[in-house]
């Protein structure tokens, strides 16, 4: 096996091994550290010495041994300090009856729900998910988020402490809480995907890997919850969005808008899978925001050219989305779609009320869509101003570059 194959195998095994350990021993934080050490040992040994016959058992044994060592030295330290142990020694604190027949998918799901615990800030949920479920090392996560390793290491340590302090246990939450938590999980996976959805290539390769990782984790989640339409919808949305990867940036790393992308460069296999997933899900599941966004992406994907896009269908889907999950960002996208059917003036009219909505009034996206519609309406001077406003507001370098270029194409104003 190559180093890469070993890494893939290890990352697939991570939640399984961690799940078994936490169910056996409780102590999420200590188990998670032990699993990371076992993963490191395997990543060092396996590529050279070969993969053991039962890699999962090997990891369990090594991680289990680390845990015991840890507890022994902890115990010794406590004995030296003559601390009267009022509570039971750590290794006796066994979690609720270990039902070993539970499937690995269930363990991954329980772990995901634990990592997206409401006691954690969002950035900690992302980091902990990538490490405990994704099996990434702290160094890899730090690189992906462009922060020093010490920062990420501390963020993960704090996250684990908080999960434990919140009294979280490795069990499936009650149905009501589970649904709430699952929504957070989907959002976290979506954010991980977006973190990696970078427009520039080359220097940002590490970040791009987050996209693939988000897709892998969502696939894993779908195996645990095949009957959840929103999980299928999120996976479809990711696949359909990621299918544009090769086409969405030009040779100089510049952003290419959807309408101008070379559709021959779209990943047809990813599109086929995404379209099939969302089409199928919508036949049995109540529609949810991810399914609808995926359905919209599917309509775009199926248009042979940008002008052949089925805009009325997209508008209809946005209308359902706006009723289901009212959000000014949805109105924004809806306005852009309406402009393609009823003309730019109709789109601009839909944008007007958003100026009074604090959630979006100062957002670069509002200015960018308005700029585009003004350009279509034949108002280059106003369009230019709006593009420049959007360029000043965005905190994304590729977006800023794109918006400044659009403004420049409309004349320099001199």
């Amino acid at each position: 096996m190559t180093g890469r194959e070993v890494e893939d195998l290890l990352r697939a095994l991570t939640p399984q091994v961690l799940g078994v350990l936490v169910r056996r021993h409780g102590q999420f934080s200590a188990c998670e550290d032990a699993v990371q050490e076992a993963l490191l040992a395997a990543a060092t040994r396996w590529p050279g010495q070969g993969v053991p016959e039962n890699p999962r058992a090997w990891l369990l044994t090594v991680a289990g041994r680390r845990l015991t060592d840890e507890w022994r030295s902890e115990r010794a330290r406590r004995d030296r300090e003559v601390v009267v142990a009022l509570r039971e020694p750590a290794y006796a604190a066994v979690a609720p009856p270990a039902d070993e027949d539970r499937s690995d998918s269930d363990d991954s799901l329980t772990l995901l729900l634990l990592c997206c615990h409401p006691a954690l800030p969002r950035s900690a949920q992302l980091a902990l998910t990538l490490r405990a479920v994704g099996g990434l090392t702290t160094a890899q996560i730090a690189r992906a988020f462009l922060v020093p390793e010490a920062t990420m290491s501390q963020r993960i340590r704090r996250a684990k402490q908080r999960v434990e302090a919140a009294g979280a246990r490795f069990v499936m939450p009650s149905p009501a809480e589970r649904d709430e938590r699952l929504r957070t999980v989907l959002h976290v996976l979506y954010l991980i995907f977006n973190e990696g959805y970078t427009a520039s290539s080359g220097t940002e390769l590490h970040r791009a890997e987050l996209t693939g990782e988000a897709i892998r984790l969502t696939r894993q989640l779908r195996r645990a919850l095949p009957d959840d339409g929103e999980v299928a919808g999120l996976l479809a949305l990711m696949l359909l969005t990621d299918a544009h990867r090769a086409a969405r940036t030009g040779p100089g790393g510049e952003l290419v808008p959807l309408a101008e992308q070379d559709r021959d460069r779209w990943d047809r296999a990813a599109i086929a899978e995404g379209v099939a997933l969302v089409t199928e899900a919508l036949t049995w599941s109540p529609p949810g925001p991810y399914q609808l966004q995926a359905a919209i992406a599917a309509v775009h994907a199926e248009a042979p050219t940008a002008p052949q896009t089925d805009w009325p269908q997209i508008i209809a889907l946005y209308r359902v989305l706006a009723t289901l999950a009212p959000n000014p960002m949805v109105t924004l996208n809806q306005a852009a779609a309406v402009a393609m059917v009823d003309g730019p003036r109709a789109g601009l009219a839909l944008l007007a009320p958003l100026d009074g909505d604090d959630r979006v009034a100062g957002h670069h996206r509002l200015a960018a869509v308005r700029a585009h519609l003004l350009e279509l309406a034949g108002e280059p001077a106003a369009a230019r101003e709006a593009y420049l406003l959007a360029a000043r507001r965005t905190t994304s370098r590729p977006e800023q570059r794109y918006l400044e270029l659009r403004a420049a194409r409309l004349g320099d104003g001199r």
């Binding site: 427009a199 520039s200 370098r397």
Partner: protein, 122 residues
């Protein structure tokens, strides 16, 4: 989201402080830095040498011209920065508000978002 907290203060303000006041200020800075380190929000930070040590480089005709002293002639000078990675702008502002230069009125902090390489489809 990463934010750069730019610290602007009056050079030499420390000279007018008692030893006790100085100790308090350093203690406050240490405490904030410790908190940001433990929470995993601190990305980095540096303090800059006194503005009198600055060399300003600008273009004069075809050649760069180097002069002594800072570019901006203002009462407050750029003294250093903190880089934090936190979940909201409110949090970044909250950190800035606790910085002693702000709290004691020796200077101001600017909170500025750092540009990201990620972008969404347009």
């Amino acid at each position: 989201m990463k934010y750069m907290l730019l610290i602007w203060n009056r050079p030499g303000f420390v000279e007018g402080l008692s030893e006790q006041e100085r100790t308090t200020i350093f203690g406050e800075v240490d405490e904030i830095m410790k908190e940001l380190t433990e929470s995993g929000e601190l990305v980095g930070g540096q303090a800059l040498a006194d503005p009198s040590q600055t060399r300003t480089v600008r273009c004069r005709g075809e050649h760069p011209e180097v002069t002594d002293g800072p570019f901006l002639e203002s009462k407050e000078q750029f003294a250093g920065y903190l880089m934090v990675d936190c979940d909201s702008e409110e949090r970044a502002v909250e950190i800035a508000a606790r910085w002693p230069d702000v709290r004691l009125g020796f200077g101001v902090l600017e909170v500025r978002p750092v540009m990201d390489e990620a972008g969404t489809e347009m």
